[in-house]
Each structure stands twice: as structure tokens, then as C-alpha cells.
Symmetry: C3
Subunit: 285 residues, 3 copies
């Protein structure tokens, strides 16, 4: 996340400690009682918790998608927020339950790389293996650790139990590489790391990557078999239903169709490569 | 909205000011971090805010749909509620960010007509152009004003900053006409203004429009190529899977299939015309 | 629900009475203003209510699905929680509005069997017919009792009005039979009672039903035309994309594909029968 997009430092006018805010990110969907059961456990510990859904529509078992989506919202929450992230294909197996503490907040979930963006972006990262069963529910089912283990640990955090009592520090936590942009002369090669609800394609190329390349007008972007000239500031710089490249809300380069759906109309997909090149000088005014 | 459907006047037993309630209506969907980021900003200003989603499933860029859907719920909230509505195809362009204050609440969003139902239904409407950048986030992205501009303004409202400090009164705000019913003798011509989750078609014809027409039993409704006799009081007045016309929860005439889906089975659609006529006298008992 | 999965008894550290928690389960979907209007009414009574959505994606008019889904989450909420469940094909007709009080909480909704799991699982069940119109909104529409009747009753409960003032005890409330497992010698015949978001099939066979049958390794499950050997403890006991039978988070026997979708890949459906048999002794080590 681009730190420049972070909220203003605002004085907290609330009387309660800020750590009553808990966000939830899962692949549980919204048709069943899963999310409700997790929230029921949390409220049984502290009925005043401020519960915020980031999303429950992560594709089933897709840890990388969860890692990106939750972290596109997490940095905007107040300091001390607890983020519960449960996309957990290894539930009941050998993967460790962990909690991550940084200067910004506490992150609770499985040790499967879902906190890779936290590790890459935050300071004073401490990771604890949650191995103290007395802080889980009395009986832990083999398939629903979101409710029986993770929600319970967050519940004790809300009640003021220190993280140290609940686990042991580890250093060999799982992280996957945040995909990196390749630079070759005056061109960049990146990838699409997320396609959002509007069909906009978000790339791993940040504003900073582009800084020393050329003026935005002189850049050409190649993606999904098409070529788009210039990097624009706002959607209104192009006509409706025309493709546009711009710096999006996360500080990364994005490809969209103005008031259209680029995923459907250009066919851009997660993982597609994208090239940014400096156009030759002819024709520049 | 039919004011008769408004909640009872209830004594507020809460110790907090009622303006801690904020509703959200957007076309952001629920798969990404967009809604979470907006809520994170709001909670950074006031972690005790009562955040209520009206919907995030407005069709992308559909301002008219947003205008109707949010206003089918908004009048039921306590006085002083802040309604944040961000369906904003012109984001980053010339459209103005505005706040609307009435005797019922405060409405914050883009000046694109999304508050047309507010203007048509509420008293003491004041509209302000939000032009004081110091009340936005430090950096405002060109594509995510919901987070960087509108949520920030609402945050300052929650902290007690007066609206006057954040903007300048305007009178030339954008509004679209709330579609009107045409009367010809003893018949009415209206239109379908919304098709809901159940496939029920909501029209712009209100109970009041029908009052001087005839007895409900003697009216005939023509819509989507079919003819339905009589306006009923409850679903149980017809057999299962039969079409029915009735006054719905918003005080407007609706067409449904009892325990079925009228949009699928009759094929009624947004914008379709509907005729209500007084049946000839034969056959009336 | 298996009581062993219930949360730990935790000391409530909140200053407020626990009955400020209200859950909502409906078939209203999330595209319209219906859920928002219900919440607006509730907050008009008490703006500090802790509102928790269980789901609004119950299939339209499906009372049995609502009964199961809401009750897979409800027992995890703190004592005194109010559960509002509105899946109500008979709205406006003769079905009675009711409130159910037990040692665990209060349940408000239509008398159509939606509380059958409550009746089957909880103690000291009292059911009241909500027949005091002065506790409804001033005007009650014929089609939206969730907002005009049920939310209003819950609002008065939140304000401390006793249930006795709002209704009259009844004993002839509607309940449907919670489907029962048939035992024949060393085999069981059950049914699939829910298919969840992951495509996992949840059966009515509980862990207790299996206790006296055989060792889990020696059981064979027949469902949807296939045969699965052994009941496993965790997903990691089988390879990816292989079928697996296990005791799920609700304490019931479930069928899944590890990291896949059993509903799609095996074709299991709501209502399908399932057989559990003790395998012959050969080959057991």
C-alpha cells in the first residue's frame, strides 16, 4: 500500500480502547451460518466489539487473493485494530495458527502466507505460533478453526489477555514473494495481481516504479493483446467505453474501460503480464 | 416514501448523539477491499460509529437505481443519520462532491442526481459544495473519492465539525425528474421503477394516485402483455404462482407472482409501462 | 447443534445488558433497501444495538433452509441475544407473528416452523403470539412485516418492554420434524440437510449416532452413487480433490471434496439419502 494514501492522523475521540475494532476476511461466503457463528463467539467475549466485514467472498481456498484483498483495506483502519483472516485450505492439518503484531495492528489467522503483504509493508513484525489450547473453545472441530480457534483467540485479546500468553515467537513463518516488477532499460514488465468487482485490472507496478521512466503521456502500455497510449489522471480523460491506464486507489497502475468492464471487454485476467514502455519521441508535442 | 410508513416516534434511550449512525450505499460490490477501506477511514475518525450497509450491489455506475434503493431505506433511520451514497461514474472529473442537509439527516456523495428522491421528499433542503480540501485525506486518488474524500468529510462530521466549514451553499445541484404518473379520465399510466430481489416490480403509482379512481376490486392492470384484475391487500388473496397487484411496502403499486418471480415469469422489466384502468361495471357484485 | 461446540463460558466485560445484540436472517437479498429499512427501524428504537447479519441469502420463501442456517450460528451468540428471522411466504395472511423465549435467547418471526430447531434443542421454550398492534409501526403494510411488525417488536424489547405485554402464550405453534436417522443393525440411513457455500454436504447424522457403530476407519459411506471408505478427522487425511467424510463444525457427518466442491463434482444435493455401514472385517489392520 502506498503510505501516502493512509488516513490523516486523527485524534481518537472515543472513550474505548481502539482495539475493540475487529475486521473479518474469509472465503466462507454469505449464504451459511459460518460468519454468524464466528461473530457470535467474538460477541460472547465482548458484546461491544466493532465488527467490520472486509469480505467473505474470497475464492474458496485462494490464499493469495485473500492476502491482497484484505491488505487493500487493512492499512486504513485505526491503530490497534485486530484483523482476522481465515482462508485456510490446511485447516486441521499441520499448518500453524499464528498471530502477527506490528506497529499498526494485530493479524490473526493460519500460517499459510496470507499475511505476506503485512510482512512486506509493516514495521516491527512479531509472529507468534498460537499453541496454547486453553485459549481455544473447549472443543475444536477439525474443520472450523475460524470459529473454534481463531475467534476465541481474538476474543481473549479483546478481553485484554496478552498475546505472549497465547503463543510462542517464531521466525520461520510462511510468506510468498510479493511479485516484483522487472525493469529493462526504459521499460517495465509487471503482472495483474487482482481483477476487481468493476472488472478493473490492478497491476503490481506502483507509481514509484514509473517515476524515473518518462512523462506519463509518453508511456505505452501493452496488456491482453492491446496497446494503450498514455497514463491518465482521471477516468474523464477518455471517452466512455474506451480503455484507460491510470494510478488507482491503491497507488498501483490499473487498466480499466471507462464506465465499462475491462475483464470482460479486453479479457484481462489475474496473472497476465503487462509491459510499460517509453514511446519514441516522434509525435510528442 | 409514504410518510405513513415511517417508524413511530420513539424516545431515543441512547446516551450518544444520534448522529453516530452512518449508512453506506455504493456500487463497489463485496468482493474487494473498497467498502472495508471506506469503513476503516470512518472508524479512524470515530471508532464507535454505527455503520450500516444499505447495499453495495447497485449496478455499476447506475445513479438512478442508487437514488431509489437507498431512499427506500433512508427514511426509516433515526433523525440525524448520515447517509453516504457513492455511485460515481464521474469520479475525478468535474462533478462536484456535495452534502445535503434536511430536517431528517445529512446526505453525502457526488452531485449527479443520486439525491433526487431526497430533494423531492424532504423539507428545508440545503446543499453544499464540499470544496475545502483540508477535510479530505492528505492525498486524494483520482478514482476512489469514496475513501479519500467522502469518508473523510463524514469522519469530520462525526467529530462535530460543522458542514458550513466544509463547503459552500449551492442551488444548481443536479436532480433528475422522479417519473410521474399520467392520468387520463379514469385510467393511469405509470412505469416500473425498480425490480427487487424477489422479482417483484415496483411502479411509480402510489396509493394516493389510486384513491379517486375506483374500488380496488374494479381496477384492471395491464403490464408486460398480461392483464391482472383487481388490486389485492395480501399475497394470500391469490393462489400460489398466480400474478398479483397490491400496494407494497413503499406505498407504491407492485406486481408480483405469489411465491414466484414476476421478473422471470411475466418478464416485467425496469422502465416497462403499466396501465391501471377501471373495469366496466358488468360482473361486479 | 452439538452443545460441546458452544463457546466457553466467558465473563461479560461489557457495561451494557447483553440483550443489545440482535441477529438478522432473511430471504431479502442484499440488492434492495429491505434490510436497511429493518435496521433503520431497530436503530430508531435504540441506536446502540449491535446488529449482526447471519444471512440474507436464504432461498426465497424457503423456511426449512432458514431454520437450519440461522440455527447453525445462533447458539454461539451470548445469552439474551435477540434473533430476528423473517422468511415469511405467508406474510399478510393468517400465519401468526410470534416470539419464542428460551434460556438462551429470544427469537422473533413468523409462526411457520422456522424455529423448529429451537424447539428441538432448547430448554424452557415459551411461545407468544404477538397480537398487540400498539407495538407495531403505526401503519403495517401487508407485505413487509419484517420492517413494520417484527422490527418494531424487537425495538420495544430493546427498550425494555416485557414480552408478556406484547403477546399471549400459545402451545399450538407450527413445527416441522427435524429429520431423523434410521438405524438398521450396524448401519444408518440419513439425509443431506444442507449444502454449504463450499459445496460440502451436511447430513442429519451426528457424531453421537455413530458412536456405537464401529471404529471410524471401518465405516463405509454411500452417497450420490459413490462409496467412500472411512471417516476421517481432518481434510489433510486425503489427497487434494479426493472425497472425504468427516464430522463437521456443526457436529454432523459431512461429505466434501478436499479443496474442491462436492456438490458440483459428486453431485450431492439437498434431500439425498446417505448410508453408513460397517465394513466387513477383511483388510483391517
Amino acid at each position: 500500500m502506498n503510505p501516502r494514501f493512509l488516513p490523516l492522523k486523527v485524534k481518537n475521540t472515543s472513550q474505548k480502547p481502539p482495539n475493540k475494532v475487529v475486521t473479518l476476511t474469509t472465503d466462507y461466503g454469505e449464504r451459511d451460518g459460518f460468519v454468524g457463528a464466528v461473530k457470535g463467539v467474538l460477541l460472547s467475549f465482548c458484546s461491544e466489539t466493532q465488527l467490520i466485514d472486509i469480505t467473505h467472498q474470497i475464492s474458496a481456498f485462494n490464499v493469495e487473493e485473500a492476502a491482497f484483498v484484505f491488505y487493500s483495506a487493512a492499512p486504513f483502519f485505526p491503530k490497534g485494530t485486530i484483523h482476522l483472516v481465515v482462508v485456510d485450505p490446511g485447516v486441521g492439518g499441520k499448518r500453524r495458527p499464528i498471530a502477527v503484531r506490528t506497529t499498526r495492528g494485530i493479524y490473526v489467522g493460519p500460517d499459510n502466507g496470507v499475511f505476506s503483504w503485512v510482512y512486506a509493508n509493516e514495521q516491527k513484525v512479531e509472529v507468534l505460533h498460537l499453541n496454547q489450547r486453553r485459549f481455544f473453545l473447549k472443543r475444536v472441530s477439525a474443520t472450523f478453526h475460524g470459529r473454534d480457534l481463531f475467534a476465541s483467540v481474538v476474543g481473549y485479546l479483546l478481553q485484554g489477555v496478552s498475546l505472549e500468553k497465547m503463543g510462542t515467537p517464531i521466525r520461520d513463518y510462511v510468506r510468498f514473494p510479493i511479485s516484483k516488477v522487472k525493469r529493462r532499460g526504459r521499460s517495465l514488465k509487471g503482472a495483474i495481481i487482482h481483477v476487481d468487482h468493476f472488472g478493473n485490472a490492478i497491476t503490481n507496478i506502483t507509481e514509484k516504479d514509473l517515476q524515473h521512466l518518462a512523462s506519463p503521456r509518453r508511456m505505452t502500455v501493452r496488456v491482453g493483446g492491446i496497446e494503450i497510449r498514455g497514463i491518465q489522471k482521471t477516468f474523464s480523460s477518455v471517452e466512455r467505453m474506451q480503455p484507460i491506464v491510470y494510478i488507482g486507489g491503491s497507488g498501483n497502475l490499473e487498466i480499466a474501460i471507462r464506465e465499462g468492464n475491462a475483464a470482460q471487454e479486453i479479457g484481462v485476467r489475474l496473472g497476465d503480464s503487462i509491459n510499460v514502455e517509453t514511446s519514441p519521441l516522434f509525435g510528442v508535442c
